[in-house]
Symmetry: C2
Subunit: 339 residues, 2 copies
């Protein structure tokens, strides 16, 4: 889009080096690429947005085993949203908005299956589809509803609450009738949680004493803690659990820039005294239930009960900078790059 | 019993000091006491055995909040087994064997309710009732079957496997059709696990490399880890989980003699990659389901599928020493004091 050229020109962003500690721009390299074509494919797509997720750091560091690592020299893996510009399949006509596993490519061709193509539901913006119907929204859905199971009146605490997953997870708990308290960094994010997302309270971890505020706001104990950060905040939550509490382990952004050994949660033993559980999950294990989640999330987007926000960085070449920014709290809501 | 006297003489063991670090004999004091009588009570009982559990250390240190602490000067709380020597209730005739919350008393009087009296089922030895039908057996039942949920063919790993809870928990998993691997200290305990309890394998943590042995024996991953010890062994288990694994947090004997901060499990993050859960419980929360458990356990004791073993220390005055010995691995099976 911002790529001003009369004839389309393709580019890829490839992994140039395995990051050591914080991401560097040099860990990626821009490459010219030939334009893809329809031969053997269902569609050719022009990428409009690429989605950025903290989990990507694990893929390029090759330190997780639930998906194959991205190899050096490979095009970076990632979800994207765009428009069909050539098609051999009537169900994906030219002009259709779709999301899928595009990788970091300005133009991409593939089959329904190879790209995991999903048409954007009618009435939904492409950005919202990548946000709420994308991998982070699905993560929020299964993590909160399937593992956290908030009941009416429950106290639900969420860290990383202004992020893509946290903001959807919190709203799903609110819709289920829970009191939702979010932890986020900075006044602006906290104001968004309360004013727009209708959380009951927000804790600014950069400017408030999280331990004191959690104790004050969760005097009856935390029924569901949805953890996106790990570290000290996980320990504070474990120290304030209600009986039969559920701790949903979604991520640990505080871990991602660490290179040495990372301490475990010293208060885990409280799980015993509170008859509580701590449970992790990888959203890909819920693949068969994605349609159920997408139907639910689409309905709540359309009726306006689920709000969404995207932090959009302009320019394909800004992908590495935008990805690194996830780990310094640069985004509110979903981080996207507009190509 | 070992108290040689023609007229019965009562004694109590009271808490003399809150232990700091490892238990000391001086933390308790022996006191003469008057003989209890039937007035206002259902029964007078002569104590034959008193049960020792690691959880007792938490009560006297007053560092848990799920039960009231034992106060200094109070008779030590604890389960016992004995014989009814006076009775005002036909359902508890003189000569009946009963268990209940006797406290550390040679003779005790009370009501059905105040003592939580339970007649020993016909055909069951008093020691076995305190072991398998006592609080440790019930802990094994709910922890393994309700939280661990072993399925046929599952790999179940148990630490503290030769202890009172671990030995019952492991047999329940075996009865459910799982492959059971126990971790215990010393060749003798390991031999007992394999030869008598029919575990598939045993790991001697005092003489073997636990990490290497777990990896070797649990190559397909651990489906259920029943944790009685915490510390390094919990981390090794977390590092070897199968998909959808259940980690049952039953105790943490490695913690009990620590006074400083205790590290958390650094490998907890693996719960995410394995879609796994770690869940704690206090058996008292299952009070309403105790009859179901006792029926099940009694049946399996009677038909010989559940084996039991007690390490019995002779002498009421040895209670403090016997309790301390729990924390240095002195017992195989259930630790009891014969009064």
């Amino acid at each position: 889009m911002s790529h001003a050229s009369t004839t389309p020109h393709n580019q890829h962003m490839v992994l140039a080096a395995r990051p050591q500690g914080p991401l560097k721009v040099d860990d990626f390299a821009l490459q010219d690429a030939s334009m893809p074509n329809l031969e053997g494919n269902d569609v050719v797509i022009e990428t409009h947005y690429l989605s950025l997720d903290p989990a990507m750091k694990g893929w390029i560091e090759a330190r997780v085993d639930y998906v194959a690592p991205v190899e050096i020299g490979d095009v970076m893996r990632g979800q994207g949203g765009g428009i069909v510009i050539e098609s051999s399949k009537p169900e994906y006509p030219v002009g259709l908005q779709v999301t899928g596993q595009f990788g970091w490519r300005r133009y991409v061709a593939g089959t329904r299956r190879s790209l995991g193509l999903a048409p954007v539901p009618e009435g939904i913006e492409l950005c919202a589809a990548l946000n709420v119907l994308g991998i982070t929204g699905l993560t929020a859905y299964f993590g909160m509803l399937d593992i956290g199971k908030p009941a009416r009146g429950d106290t639900v605490l969420i860290s990383g609450a202004a992020g893509a997953t946290g903001s959807v997870a919190g709203q799903l708990a609110r819709i289920a009738g829970a009191r939702v308290i979010g932890i986020a960094g900075g006044e602006e994010k906290c104001a968004w949680l309360m004013d727009t997302l209708e959380f009951e309270a927000a804790i600014d971890y950069k400017n408030e004493d999280v331990s004191a505020r959690v104790a004050e706001l969760c005097g009856e104990g935390i029924d569901v803690y949805f953890d996106n950060v790990g570290g000290d905040i996980l320990d504070i939550a474990l120290d304030n659990l209600a009986q039969n509490a559920r701790v949903v382990l979604c991520g640990g952004i505080s871990r991602y820039n660490e290179t040495g050994p990372i301490p475990g949660p010293v208060n885990y033993f409280n799980l015993i005294y509170r008859n509580a559980r701590m449970e992790g999950f990888i959203v890909l294990n819920y693949l068969k239930r994605f349609p159920e989640a997408i139907t639910f999330l689409t309905q709540h987007l359309l009726d306006g009960r689920l709000k969404h926000r995207e932090t959009i960085t302009q320019g394909f070449e800004q992908l590495p900078v935008a990805l690194a920014s996830l780990f310094t709290g640069g985004n509110t809501g979903k981080a996207l790059v507009a190509v």
